[in-house]
Symmetry: C2
């Protein structure tokens, strides 16, 4: 990573914020520069183009997220499969609910999944491949499942419950989260119930996977 001066560093950080909120297309140069307090031309001066700035922001935010959430993953050999599943679910959900810079990547990637860009094949493939392998290995250890299609289904069931909170982020933000009766009286803010949410997803998944032994309390 090259050294960046103060201005270009500010632009990069603000670009991450705006890209994370709006996605590549909807995020405008003006939005980013307004947040960074710079002239619109400065983006083309420091970063060749909007496309290139996006790639830089993608790599930069991935670095922040990986450093913050997956450093403990290396010593996972000492954990039981159920504990590793909880670690995976907890990492993913916490990164989604993180409001700091370590949560930027999740939000950027989400837009990328919805509307893949030209650069998606380069940047999205490798990163998710590793994440996916991480989860697959856990489920194999948990269930001993050998049928690849059923393993695929199981991975989807686990991952979908985590990513759902990314899906409903803006519904929560705009106070549009759906509260049908009898839930219209529940003031549910996942940010304040993170531990309970994580516990529920873990239990639901372990039961769903038909894992009998419940370790990790």
């Amino acid at each position: 990573m090259e050294n960046l001066n103060e201005t270009s560093q500010k632009i990069l950080e603000c670009a991450c914020e705006v890209f994370a909120e709006k996605g590549f297309q909807a995020a405008s140069i003006s939005d980013i520069c307004e947040l960074a307090g710079t002239n619109r031309a400065s983006i083309n001066y420091y970063f060749r183009s909007k496309d290139n700035l996006y790639e830089q922001a993608y790599v930069y935010s991935w670095g922040l997220t990986h450093a913050a959430f997956r450093t403990k993953g290396d010593d996972s050999a000492s954990l039981s499969p159920a504990e590793r599943l909880k670690f995976y679910i907890s990492s993913l959900i916490r990164s989604i609910f993180s409001s700091g810079p370590e949560g930027l990547f999740m939000r950027m990637m989400f837009h990328e999944v919805i509307q893949p860009n030209i650069h998606s094949k380069d940047c999205i493939g490798e990163i998710i491949k590793k994440e996916r392998k991480f989860l697959d290995d856990i489920i194999v250890d948990l269930t001993g499942e050998t049928d690849l299609v059923r393993l695929h289904f199981m991975s989807m069931s686990v991952m979908s419950q985590c990513l759902f909170f990314n899906l409903t982020r803006n519904l929560r933000k705009h106070k549009l989260e759906i509260k049908a009766p009898p839930f219209d009286r529940v003031d549910f803010r996942p940010e304040e119930h993170l531990d309970a949410v994580i516990d529920h997803v873990c239990t639901f998944c372990l039961n769903g996977l038909n894992v009998r032994e419940k370790t990790g309390e």
Copy 2:
């Protein structure tokens, strides 16, 4: 619903297609008119504005989806709770994978969830409220759960697994679906395994909800 002549009907149908694929903002008048084979001004002639066209398309596609997938829901009184859950999951997943006009609404709403618009409060709230109530009632009957927060969690777990296939739609379309080892050898196309997918989600959810009282906990 007023009578529409041939041109305006064509515009409405094409608008649904384009809005479903790109969302409101990214879909341009030119895109829609090119597909419909009309002049750009015709949209403002028949529909007052792009905003109004979007609302019309939203209502129109909802009508198509509801007619196609939820007509059987009225006689659900004769079904067991588990059968009703399967009916709900099946309806939702099939509407997501439907390539015909009855699948348009799901795709339009998905963009709405990601980036709520000004109109979201009017159109999105009522419809999802009813859908949500539909699922909540089933889960209450299934589990007898009385804690509202835990019920909320359960609803999310079920719904998230269904909506996940909407999330990954464009990854499949762009052949970007993630295939980490050992899955890189699995040629998985959900469209051709719909029944298996639905069965898995139902089983996973019933186990996750602890419906069959297997555990001694």
